[in-house]
Each structure stands twice: as structure tokens, then as C-alpha cells.
């Protein structure tokens, strides 16, 4: 057990090191030097040299890199060029919004996708199966931004059932303020017993979550279906049928168990898609999370902010995959024997 965890952790650290190398290289590729951005137009030579020294840009590259890493280890992601505040502060302020969005989407994708996939596999060519397959062909071809805007058009523009964008109604902050403890508004408002704010948060979450669920559901459904079909053709499943084991037990206990490992992989990958998709979704719904922050910071030429947020999102994805790796150990008895 300890050996397995240590191995996985080492692997993650190695990849994290690679990720840092990439973000370091990218931050040194930036168009227009950060010095210019700091000083504005027509700085004197002295000012330039001073600023370069302050940013550590006069050091040799390997030294710059070690400094970059040691800063990161101490939680220093640099300063936002736009606000002058530490990037870490900007990022932690927004990460709750992104997590709330992606976790809830993930929940629905699994809760809907896995059963649909199982039914699709068990009843091949049934109505459910056909709809699921057509949906998975069409679903992956649909641009996320288009879907998001179509939902806005229908549920806000035409029906006026749900809000257009944002995370809360403006009045809520004035009339029913609540303390932000976890950064998950659904939990925070519940803890405060603030029903008005909870309702507002729920309504604002609906469309962005729906967008993310629709674009990722197809993948999870299809992969579950294919894995189930494969498992159902195994001999031990056929034997169980021959013995007269109840069908529900075969499908959901025997077969689904065997698909748990690939399914975990899928969940890990899906999380990546959700984090990537969140960039566009947050942009369209003006959602105050990290993805929207990346897009906004790019438009403002605020590169430390872009790189900081990228790093945090990549780190989140890596952590999720580490958790998935560790869950393999729980789910797969073969790993425990070795």
C-alpha cells in the first residue's frame, strides 16, 4: 500500500515538475516584456535595469527557474499586473466558484451517464440506446459556447425562467448577505440558513451546470456502454445467467463492478474536460471563477495572472488524477496482492 502510494506520488511530482517547466518557459516567451508592462511608455535605461533586477530577469535562466520553483513552493504565484495584488489571492478568491460548478456538473454526469450507459448496453438497439447513441454523436460535435448561448436564449430570453449570467442576484448581496466560508455558495447559504440566497445561487447555477453536463454526458454514457458490452460477453457473466442469478444483481453487482476501474479513469478524464469546458462556460455566463478569470486576464495582458490560474487548474486536475489512482487501489484487489 505505502509503496503504491509513494510510487503514485513520485509520478505526480515528476509530472508537476514538467508542468512547471512548461509554464516557466511560457512565461519567458511572453510578447512584450513584463518590464515594459510594469513601467509603461518611455522608461529610462536605469528604470528598465532596476525593474529587471527586481523581477530577477537579469539572472541566468537556470537560476531564474530555481527561483521560480522556490517562489511557488512558498505559495508565491507572482503579482497581478492589473491589480498589483498577489495572484494567489486572486486565484483563491475564485477557485470556489469553479469547483462548485465543476463538482456539481461531475455529480450529474456520473448519476445520469452511468445508468444510461448500463441500460444502453443491456438493451442494445432499444429506444434508450438509440437516443443515447444519437445524442453521443451529436453531443460531441456541438460547440460549448453555442450550447451555452442557446440555453441563455431559451431560458432567459424567451421563457425568462432563469437568470442570464452571474452567480447571485445583485439584490441578494444587499438584502440577504451571507458569510463565505467554503466558497461553495450552496453550502454557505445553507449554513447561514439564508433561503433567498440559496434559491438565487441555485437558479444561477442551473444553466452553466446544464451546459457542462450536456457536453460531457455523451462521453461518459458511451464509454460506460462499451465497457458494459465487453464485460457482459465474459464467460463468468454468462455462467451467472445460466445459474439463474437475478439479472439486476448480474448487471449492477457483477458487471458494473468489473467496469469500475475504467470508469474511474473516465471520471478523471471527464473532470479535465469539465475544467477545460469551464473556461468557455464561465466566460459566457460571466461566472466569477478561474476559467473566466483566465480569459479576462488574457484580454488585459495580465500574464502572471494567466499563468497562475493555469497552474492551479492543472494542479487540480493532477490531484484529481492522483485520487483516481489511489482509488484504483481500493477498487482493484489485484493491486493489493502485488
Amino acid at each position: 500500500m505505502a509503496k503504491y502510494i509513494a510510487q503514485r506520488l513520485m509520478m505526480m511530482l515528476l509530472i508537476l515538475f514538467g508542468v512547471l517547466t512548461i509554464t516557466f518557459v511560457l512565461s519567458r516567451l511572453l510578447p512584450g516584456s513584463p518590464v515594459e508592462m510594469m513601467l509603461g511608455h518611455h522608461p529610462t535605461q536605469e528604470q528598465i535595469e532596476e525593474a529587471r533586477a527586481e523581477l530577477g530577469l537579469d539572472l541566468p535562466l537556470p537560476l531564474q527557474f530555481t527561483r521560480y520553483i522556490s517562489d511557488l513552493v512558498q505559495g508565491d504565484l507572482g503579482k497581478s499586473l492589473r491589480t498589483g495584488r498577489p495572484v494567489l489571492e486572486e486565484v483563491t478568491k475564485r477557485i470556489g466558484a469553479t469547483f462548485e460548478l465543476t463538482f456539481i456538473a461531475m455529480f450529474w454526469v456520473v448519476v445520469l451517464g452511468v445508468p444510461i450507459g448500463v441500460v444502453s448496453a443491456v438493451r442494445q438497439n432499444s429506444a434508450v440506446d438509440n437516443v443515447a447513441r444519437a445524442g453521443s454523436i451529436a453531443g460531441v460535435a456541438f460547440p460549448v459556447f453555442m450550447l451555452a448561448m442557446a440555453l441563455q436564449f431559451i431560458f432567459y430570453g424567451q421563457l425568462n425562467w432563469l437568470p442570464l449570467q452571474g452567480r447571485l442576484d445583485a439584490e441578494i448581496l444587499l438584502d440577504h448577505p451571507f458569510e463565505r466560508i467554503t466558497g461553495f455558495y450552496l453550502i454557505d447559504t445553507l449554513l447561514a440558513g439564508n433561503i433567498e440566497a440559496l434559491w438565487s445561487a441555485l437558479r444561477h447555477l442551473t444553466l452553466p451546470v446544464l451546459t457542462l453536463v450536456i457536453v460531457t454526458l455523451a462521453t461518459v454514457t458511451r464509454i460506460t456502454r462499451n465497457m458494459m458490452i465487453e464485460v457482459l460477453s465474459e464467460e463468468y457473466i454468462r455462467t451467472s445467467f445460466a445459474y439463474g442469478v437475478p439479472k439486476v444483481r448480474i448487471y449492477f453487482q457483477y458487471a458494473l463492478k468489473a467496469t469500475l476501474i475504467p470508469l474511474l479513469t473516465v471520471v478523471g478524464l471527464t473532470f479535465g474536460y469539465l475544467l477545460g469546458g469551464a473556461v468557455v462556460v464561465e466566460f459566457v455566463f460571466d461566472w466569477p471563477g478561474l476559467g473566466g478569470f483566465v480569459v479576462f486576464s488574457i484580454a488585459q495582458n495580465d500574464f502572471p495572472a494567466v499563468m497562475g490560474a493555469t497552474l492551479v487548474l492543472a494542479g487540480t486536475y493532477l490531484t484529481i488524477n492522483l485520487i483516481v489512482d489511489l482509488l484504483y487501489y481500493v477498487v482493484d484487489p489485484r493491486l493489493r496482492v502485488q
Binding site: L14, I15, L16, G18, V19, T21, I22, T23, L26, S27, L29, L30, P31, Q124, R133, I137, A138, V140, A141, F142, P143, V144, F145, M146, M149, A150, Q152, F153, Y156, G157, L164, R222, N226, I229, E230, F271, G272, Y273, L275, G276, G277, V279, V280, F283, V284, V294, V295, I298, A299, F303, V306, M307, T310, L313, A314, Y317, L318, N321
Partner: protein, 306 residues
């Protein structure tokens, strides 16, 4: 990715066996083709749709009823009508004409990104698979690093660093995409490497580079090409997303993602300004995916499913 469950191949000949004795060769060919089309309906639809879009893109200057860049404020934001099939945007430009020209941009993006990603991935995978050992594990760890970013995030970060613009966005997409090809290529090379004819070449004293280029490379690229044809649609989708958030194509370029983005402020009252560019992306990506899946089933049936 997989419609292999729907489109089954290898049975296309069975229908024609019955009629061989009475039909001329041309007729047999016709029957076989027809049988193939019937067996692979989705593939056929995809290919036809793709051909239609390519045709529209090539002949856009002749098909387009208006100059796609012509600004006419007198006819701005008109809903679809007889003169403007898809309506006009806020500058009074004909959306149908712009969608037609936009097909050119998207097709070029799809080809260029997939090709560039393959050009990086194939040598990467070839070296990794052929030499094995430490070279292999290092190269594969490097490709792992690229895959450690959530999709779309790495292209965004690279484009941000290179400076926004379509060319940089395409480079960024290819650089973020190549590890998939590197891995598939590596897998194919590892399989080929242990074949007897490679051993024979080695025993005859053929140089390593020659074995790699002349014997291994041509025999291991099929899976990569299959994957590439399946990814064609995804690269178009990703590039459109980059343009949408302001990192890819820039005005006055005609690109579907950009068209949708620039109409965002008034789309609630004028939905057609976003609907048609969006539908165009959907149709092209759908066509590319259907054609790609079908191609996979034909070229590499073993790879199906997954």
C-alpha cells in the same frame, strides 16, 4: 468517437455473392458500392456532408450572394428573409456569405492543426518506440506532462504566451495535441519492431535510421492517420472555442467562432447572428466525426470500440 457499433464493415460483400453469376463486372461493382453505402449509412452521410462543405468553401466566391465584408448599415440585423437567407449582422453584412467563407478558415485550421500535430507526434513516437528503454520512458514522461493539463487550457496558455492570433492558436493546438499521436505511433512501432522482417533487416546490417525510416515508419502510420481523421472535427471545435474567447481569429477574418463571439452582445434579440455560425460548426464537426469513425472502421477495424 465510436460508431463502430452502428456501422459494421466486412459484410459488404455478402449481399453481392448471390448475383455474381448473372451480373457483368460493372454491375457487380455497382452492387458492391451500394451494399457498402447501405452498410455504412452514417459514414456515407458524413462523407457527403463533408464534400458539400468542401465544395461550398472552394466555390464560396461564386456561391455567395453578397460580398461577405460589405458593410451596409441600412440593412443591419435583418432576420432571415428571401434576400438574406441567414439574415444580416450588426454591420449589415450577409451572414450566409460569411458562413460560406468561414468554411474555408475552419477547413484550413482542421487540416493544418492535425497535420502539424502528426508531424511532431510521429517522429516522437517513432524514436520512443524504436529505441525503447530510457529514451522511451523519458519521451513518454514528456508527453504525459502535456496531457496533464485540462484540455483547452494548455492551448489557451500557449496562445496567451505567443500572442493571440489564428496562426499562434493553431501552433498552440498542435503542440497540445501531439502527445496523442506520439503515443499511438509508439504503440504501433513497438508492435512492428519485433516483426521478423525487421530482425532480418537488422541481421543484414541495415543502419538503424534506414530501418526506422524505410521499414518501421511506413508500416506503423495507419493508426495515427486514422486517429487524425477522427480528431479533425475536434481541432476545428477547439479552434472555434479559442476564437470565441478572443485568442484565435481576429477581425476582419471570417471564422465561425469569431462570428458568434462578435454577435454575443445582441444575440438575445437577434438569435440568427449566433445560430447560423454555430450550426455551421456543428455540421462540419459532425460530418468530420462521422467520416472519421467510418474511416477507422474501414482502415483499422481492430481499433474500434474502446
Amino acid at each position: 468517437m465510436s460508431t463502430s457499433m452502428i456501422t459494421k464493415t466486412n459484410t459488404s460483400t455478402s449481399n453481392s455473392n448471390l448475383s455474381i453469376s448473372v451480373q457483368s463486372p460493372a454491375a457487380i461493382w455497382r452492387i458492391k458500392t451500394w451494399a457498402f453505402i447501405c452498410e455504412n449509412k452514417l459514414f456515407t452521410i458524413g462523407v457527403l456532408l463533408l464534400l458539400l462543405i468542401v465544395f461550398a468553401a472552394i466555390f464560396a466566391p461564386w456561391i455567395a450572394p453578397y460580398d461577405p465584408a460589405k458593410i451596409a448599415f441600412s440593412s443591419k440585423l435583418m432576420p432571415p428573409n428571401v434576400e438574406h437567407w441567414m439574415g444580416t449582422d450588426r454591420f449589415g453584412r450577409d451572414i450566409f456569405s460569411r458562413v460560406l467563407y468561414g468554411a474555408r478558415t475552419s477547413l484550413v485550421i482542421g487540416f493544418a492543426v492535425t497535420l502539424l500535430a502528426m508531424l511532431i507526434g510521429i517522429p516522437f513516437g517513432l524514436i520512443s518506440g524504436y529505441f525503447g528503454g530510457r529514451v522511451d520512458s523519458w519521451l513518454m514522461r514528456i508527453s504525459d506532462v502535456f496531457l496533464a493539463f485540462p484540455p483547452l487550457l494548455l492551448p489557451i496558455a500557449i496562445t496567451a504566451a505567443l500572442g493571440s492570433g489564428l496562426t499562434n492558436a493553431m501552433i498552440a493546438l498542435a503542440v497540445s495535441w501531439f502527445p496523442w499521436y506520439a503515443r499511438i505511433m509508439r504503440g504501433a512501432v513497438v508492435r512492428i519492431r519485433s516483426e521478423p522482417f525487421i530482425d532480418a533487416a537488422r541481421a543484414m546490417g541495415v543502419s538503424k535510421s534506414k530501418i526506422m525510416l524505410r521499414h518501421v515508419l511506413p508500416n506503423s502510420t495507419t493508426p495515427v492517420i486514422v486517429q487524425g481523421s477522427m480528431d479533425f472535427g475536434y481541432t476545428i471545435l477547439a479552434a472555434a472555442s479559442l476564437s470565441f474567447i478572443g485568442l484565435g481569429a481576429k477581425p476582419p477574418m471570417m471564422e465561425w467562432g469569431l462570428m458568434a463571439a462578435s454577435s454575443r452582445s445582441q444575440f438575445l434579440d437577434n438569435p440568427w447572428t449566433v445560430l447560423f455560425p454555430g450550426l455551421a460548426i456543428f455540421l462540419l464537426v459532425l460530418a468530420a466525426n462521422l467520416a472519421g469513425d467510418g474511416l477507422r472502421d474501414v482502415l483499422d477495424p481492430k481499433q474500434g470500440g474502446h
